[in-house]
């Protein structure tokens, strides 16, 4: 018996150890496999945050034709993934003809003194690149065009992209019309290519990628603040697309603009902030202003009159209005150093043109203000329906910098007469009513032309928590009802979609048109309130787009060499120019619950219950006993010994 048992357990023993060996071995291999899974992501590129370093000097403008290995379309993972080191479609220069530069960079600064004593400076940086992002092969050799934006265009099949970040509100009546209008906060509108199948999904991913590039919280753009305008936002570049299914528009009126948005914006420029006009962009001065707006506009443009070749244009614009009292200490004397705390020493070496324009239209004989250093170059341009005269400083010429090798423009006022040409189109908006239940939105549109009337397109996008009563919509001009010729209204869906109201209204000459609509405020769920709900909730600006009659004939040839500020909006006819006016955003209070209420109620209830019930319970159940006073130490030890002995204590 024992021998049997022995042999049995010996066999069992060997079997067990063998099986355990196998188990242990497999454990080890899975361990190694697990380690391989946690490989590091390729740390090579940092396309999430645009970190473009300035390209080296311009003497290498020729291209090296790279050998085309395989023209396979890559399966891309992410726009922000590392770039593949393989094929770049050959950007070969045609050897038989004179090699033209395939990409071009221009920079300019326009300084316009305003009648209120403030000064308006508008920077524009334009990169034009003749390439095709929509091809199967990925473009991988970037030079002047920033790679992060190029990858965004190709990955999300973007046809046009316009994004702006603005701090402050543009006061049209005091400052005139801006060169590039923008609403307070962040605004993003995109036209997608018609090859995109899921526009909403692509839009969501695009906003997330842009929020990483520009360090802004654009990921808050979702279906509750995105609309598809049907008429107000036509493409600014070439294209016959009028299917507004591929257009998305969203604003974030609460978005703050600060240095963290300017930093990545500056890094998109070919020269960064190291050379050229971009050295003037110092955040401490730019944000200490009445108005600051930076924008990026990407669109395809024609290269020649027949539009045989198209190229991609990237415009980065920065508009800033410096206040007389904040920045100039009340003295009406402006200089580059006073505005930007820097002077210019050179143009960007990669720029084909680098110019400063100073608007001297109101100063033909130099009696209002004087500009120094004087320049012989003058230029005239038709912009915003008016012919303006500019003094031009060409930074690519060494003579501009003079003997001191730095340029500090000085504008000194001698007299302060004259007034401004009144802008033809102007708008305001406000909320009327009282209480937290209902209210009324009033939009006023002013037509200041003495005898011409023109139509305007009004776009209103109101969040779902302000429930508009569209049956109360009224449009009145000069006291009489003014029926719009086109209304496109899309009602809101709670927590899904905002209201969209687009109307084409004819504004009679020299009049005020008022659009009113009543609304009711909704009660949000307690988790939907922001951490500071008593601040209020923002309603984005209304957009008023119009073709305003122009005093001067506008130039419709878009391919002629023109200053950048006059070629921003495409001009289709000679007698009118395109104007977009943004109203103020509204700040409405929604009925806000008292978030400290549950805590207070619990404290109060528990206190009352404890004091009231506790006292009653004690009264009913407390009984009193007589207790001997505790004896001294010696007596206590004696008692312990007596207890151990089994003798009653003292």
């Amino acid at each position: 018996m024992a021998a049997h048992r022995c042999s049995n357990c010996a066999a069992l023993l060997i079997l067990c150890s063998l099986s355990v060996f196998i188990v242990v071995d497999s454990q080890e291999t899975t361990l190694n496999g697990g380690h391989h899974a946690t490989t590091v992501h390729n740390p090579q590129t940092t396309t999430g945050t645009a970190e473009q370093t300035a390209e080296p000097a311009v003497e290498e403008r020729r291209w090296e034709a790279t050998a085309v290995e395989e023209a396979t379309p890559d399966d891309d993972d992410d726009a922000a993934a590392s770039d593949k080191q393989d094929t770049s479609a050959p950007e070969t220069v045609d050897p038989s003809s004179v090699p033209q530069p395939k990409d071009d960079f221009q920079e300019e600064l326009v300084i316009r003194p305003l009648h209120s004593g403030d000064i308006y400076a508008s920077f524009q940086f334009r990169t034009v690149w003749e390439t095709d992002f929509m091809r199967g092969n990925k473009v991988s050799h970037y030079r002047l065009f920033p790679k992060s934006l190029g990858q965004v265009i190709s990955k999300f099949s973007v046809r046009e992209l316009h994004i702006s970040f603005t701090q402050g509100y543009w006061r049209t009546m005091q400052w005139g019309q801006p060169f590039q209008p923008s609403p307070p906060g962040a605004e993003l509108w995109v036209w997608f290519q018609d090859s995109v199948t899921d526009v909403d999904g692509t839009w969501k991913e695009l906003t997330n990628v842009l929020s990483g590039i520009f360090c802004a919280s654009l990921n808050f753009i979702d279906s509750t603040n995105t609309v598809q305008p049907s008429a107000s936002f036509k493409p600014l570049g070439i294209g016959n697309e009028t299917d507004h299914r591929f257009l998305r528009y969203a604003t974030l009126p609460r978005e703050i603009v600060c240095t963290e948005n300017l930093t990545p914006w500056k890094k998109l420029l070919p020269c960064g902030s190291k050379a050229g006009l971009a050295v003037l962009l110092k955040s401490e001065k730019l944000f200490h202003s009445s108005f600051h707006s930076q924008a990026v506009h990407i669109r395809p443009v024609c290269q020649d009159w027949q539009c045989k070749t198209t190229s991609w244009e990237l415009r980065q614009t920065l508009n800033v209005v410096f206040d007389l009292h904040n920045s100039a200490q009340g003295k009406r004397e402006w200089s580059l150093f006073k505005m930007f705390s820097r002077t210019l020493t050179e143009a960007c070496p990669l720029a084909s043109s680098s110019k400063i324009y100073i608007d001297i239209t109101d100063n033909p004989q130099g009696e209002q203000f004087e500009v120094s250093p004087a320049t012989p170059l003058l230029s005239q341009a038709v912009v915003l329906g008016d012919r303006r005269t500019f003094s031009v400083y060409d930074l690519t010429q060494q003579i501009t910098f003079g003997t001191v090798r730095s340029l500090n423009l000085l504008i000194r006022w001698k007299s302060s007469e004259g007034d401004m040409l009144r802008p033809l189109l102007h708008a305001e908006r406000y909320v009327a009513g009282y209480g937290l239940q209902t209210g009324e939105i009033h939009t006023l549109m002013y037509n200041n032309h003495p005898y011409r009337s023109f139509p305007v397109l009004l776009l209103d996008s109101v969040p779902w928590y302000l429930r508009l009563y569209i049956h109360t919509l009224t449009v009145t001009s000069k006291g009489k009802d003014n029926k719009p010729s086109y209304i496109h209204y899309q009602p809101s869906k709670d927590r899904l979609r905002p209201h969209l109201l687009e109307m084409l209204v004819q504004l009679p000459p020299n009049s005020v048109t008022e659009v009113t609509v009543q609304f009711e405020r909704a009660l949000l769920k307690w988790t939907e309130y922001t951490p500071d709900p008593n601040h209020g909730f923002y309603v984005g600006s209304s957009v008023i787009s119009s073709l305003v009659p122009s005093i001067v004939a506008m130039d419709t040839n878009s391919t002629r060499e023109r200053p950048l500020f006059s070629s921003f909006f495409p001009c289709k006819e000679e007698s009118s120019y395109f104007v977009r006016v943004y109203t103020e955003p509204l700040l409405v209070n929604l009925p806000t619950p008292d978030f400290s209420m549950p805590y207070n109620v619990i404290c109060l209830t528990c206190t009352v219950v404890a004091v009231g019930y506790g006292s009653l319970y004690n009264l009913l159940t407390r009984s009193f006993q007589i207790e001997e006073p505790s004896p001294g130490l010696a007596k206590r030890i004696a008692n312990i010994i007596r207890k151990m002995r089994g003798v009653p204590p003292l």
Partner: protein, 367 residues
């Protein structure tokens, strides 16, 4: 005599063979832990540095918390960690706040001596995005797929991570934006998740809030070192106010931490023991605390630049080295469990010995 039965003898041999085989297969890990050479094993551990800097307070009067975070950001950037490896979360905007008399600046010293906001700053999470959920998602890496790279913590098992939190806190919690809290248990669990997913090599956790030491009480993952500005029951106090700006500019602990870090340069050899001495009770009024029991290396051998900077030793060599054999990566830091079946065999042996001693007749009560 105890092992007289053949059955018991067999089981004993079985256990011996088992232990031996286990030892030979997993000798390295066991050896290190048993011989306590873990310090050497981790001495040249990290290859990259990350930083997660969070300010959790909103509203203008919490200017000092944003200034705290930005001063650590500034030091970390100066010592070499690039923006792509820093996740900066600021719950409110102070620099371009309309109440700021000097826009686009955040000062740490009164009389506006030092602008910690600077000209080259990239804030990854701002405003309403700074929530407990986003913070935990950043730490554990469980972010939605469309999150851009600049908002992710892409660390691996060779990363040293610096985590800095500041705001208003209490015993066991930290308040986010006056509307939600993160507890010390959640934080400890998040670090454990990071450990299990091998998302860090070593982690330094600094917190500057009231009763900050309560936040690191619950940590249980290895390789964590923690510093706090005050003990449980104490408040962290702020440094001086600036009369032009109208608010307190910095908290005391971070103020002296910034002063300490301003003396550090990328090649300095200061170690963690000096960091523990920052802001004694005389300067800070509260008692700063630290915790190093989970950390495997001796704090005296840990350089400040291991966490605050991004420095690696580079040795230039002129000789060629042939890499013919693949380097087998040894599994690291595995908790030692006894081999499978070992416990079962051990208990069987114990039971048999027991019944041998006290009589086999008890055995039939079991079977």
């Amino acid at each position: 005599m105890i092992l007289s039965t053949t059955l018991e003898f067999c089981i004993f041999i079985y256990l011996l063979i088992f232990s031996f085989s286990y030892f030979t297969l997993h000798s390295c890990c066991l050896l290190y832990l048993c011989f306590d050479n873990a310090g050497q094993f981790f001495s040249s551990g990290h290859t990259n540095n990350w930083a997660v800097l969070v300010c959790t307070s909103r509203f203008w009067f919490n200017y000092r918390h944003v200034a705290n975070t930005l001063s650590v950001y500034r030091s970390v950037k100066r010592l070499g960690i690039p923006d792509s490896h820093i996740v900066l979360m600021l719950a409110d905007d102070m620099a371009c706040n309309h109440r700021n008399p000097k826009p686009a600046t955040v000062f740490s010293h009164k009389n506006m001596e030092l602008n910690v906001y600077g000209d080259d700053v990239e804030v990854d999470y701002r405003g309403y995005e700074v929530t407990v959920e986003n913070f935990l998602r950043v730490l554990t890496g469980r972010l939605p797929p469309s999150t851009p790279r600049s908002k992710r913590l892409l660390s691996d098992d060779r990363s040293n991570i610096l985590i800095y939190l500041t705001g208003h806190g209490g015993n066991g919690f930290l308040k986010f934006q006056d509307s939600e809290e993160i507890s010390n248990v959640e934080l400890a669990d998040a670090f454990e998740q990071m450990w299990q997913k091998r998302r860090y090599n070593e982690l330094l956790f600094i917190i500057d809030t009231c009763q900050g030491a309560s936040m690191y009480e619950r940590f249980y993952s290895p390789n964590l070192m923690a510093l706090a500005s005050s003990q449980v029951g104490e408040d962290s106090l702020s440094h001086q106010p600036d009369l032009a700006i109208g608010v307190h500019l910095m908290d005391r602990y971070t103020f002296y931490l910034l002063e300490f870090l301003e003396d550090i340069h990328p090649a300095s050899k200061t170690n963690m023991n000096d960091l523990f001495k920052v802001c004694p009770k005389s300067q800070c009024v509260s008692t700063p605390g630290h915790r190093t029991d989970l950390f495997l290396r001796d704090p005296g051998s840990v350089l400040i630049t291991d966490f605050f900077g991004s420095v690696r030793k580079v040795e230039i060599t002129m000789e060629t080295i042939n890499l013919t054999d693949p380097i087998k990566q040894k599994p690291k830091q595995k908790d030692w469990h006894p081999p499978d079946g070992f416990i079962l065999g051990l208990w069987t042996l114990i039971l048999l010995v027991f019944f041998k001693l006290y009589g086999m007749k008890h055995l039939k009560h079991i079977f």
